[in-house]
Symmetry: C2
Subunit: 190 residues, 2 copies
């Protein structure tokens, strides 16, 4: 299989980010590039599509060695979802396969978090997060009976960033570093 779609995405993101644009430009242009990437579901190698029976999987697909950005395949088994969490950097979510529900949470005066809008993402659609405006959310597979896959892009090496999960009722944060489940990533030229 040719990974040239992923290679072209990585090349365009590298060129853009090496020019050090402001975050709004990154989110706008990045969303266009990611929409192009997830417009076709013919490029993701099978080893990076496998669900885990107990929890969602985060397969690193590419990370810039100097932490400009990272690209991750999120694979949601039936009914799986994240805790309420933050990112500490901008992020883009491109839906590749299946359907997911992205629920944003907003901090209240008493410290708790309340859900607001829920966005349903269909294949080809792109969502976002940003510490500037909406960094806290929960993501769930829409389906109880099949796998969904989305491609996430972040303004750093997301698997290495110290971030937080929240108990929405109390707002209490717990620190975590997500890491990755895979020891090898795609050869973009194979």
């Amino acid at each position: 299989m040719s990974h040239s779609s992923l290679l072209m995405f990585v090349q365009e993101m590298s060129r853009m980010l090496q020019g050090k644009p402001a975050e709004p430009e990154i989110l706008t242009r990045g969303a266009e590039l990611l929409a192009t990437l997830v417009a076709n579901d013919n490029w993701l190698p099978e080893p990076f599509t496998r669900p885990h029976p107990q929890h969602y999987q985060q397969y690193l697909l590419y990370a810039d060695p100097l932490d400009l950005f990272s690209v991750v395949s999120f694979v949601w088994g039936p009914g799986q979802k994240t805790p309420v969490h933050d990112h500490m950097t901008w992020g883009l979510i491109g839906m590749l396969r299946g359907k997911e529900v992205d629920t944003h949470y907003h901090k209240q005066a008493n410290g708790s978090y309340l859900p607001s809008e829920s966005v349903v993402l269909l294949p080809g659609q792109v969502g976002s997060v940003s510490p500037a405006t909406h960094d806290v959310h929960e993501v769930a597979n829409f389906y109880q009976d099949r796998t969904s896959i989305s491609i996430h892009v972040y303004g750093g090496n997301i698997g290495r960033i110290n971030r937080h999960v929240f108990d929405p009722a109390t707002g209490l944060p717990k620190s975590f570093v997500s890491g990755y489940c895979n020891s090898v990533v795609p050869n973009l030229w194979k």
Copy 2:
């Protein structure tokens, strides 16, 4: 296993090459960095150390998405060697395991190529090639009874570059693109 040695090498090479230094500086500084990388043989994941019974293997370890450089694990089975070939870009050879013989060839007035010095590379040692001075060579495993491994670094994506093998007697070139044998590369953060 931590690949942090390889990650640090890739980071330092990326920083250096993004500054667009001249080739002599690349070869000097790159050789220092590569010598540090191959000073220890504790970081190369096993899937990228496997010889093939019939021919030497070229495992891509890392390539810059914008073709600044690439890093390849060359695995030589017993008695295996390359044809006489060129690179069309600067290259560095860092010996990791075993021993290899690097023989340089020089073009004669009649078009043929004659071998000159043969360099024996031991673990930790670094050799080079450069179109400016010495681009044509042949590399052989010193051993007839065991595997040798060297880590090569090139000023482009070497598996994609159009280059040449030569019949030394006639000097006749044949075009080739080497490609890579692996469909996945190491996750540098795992």
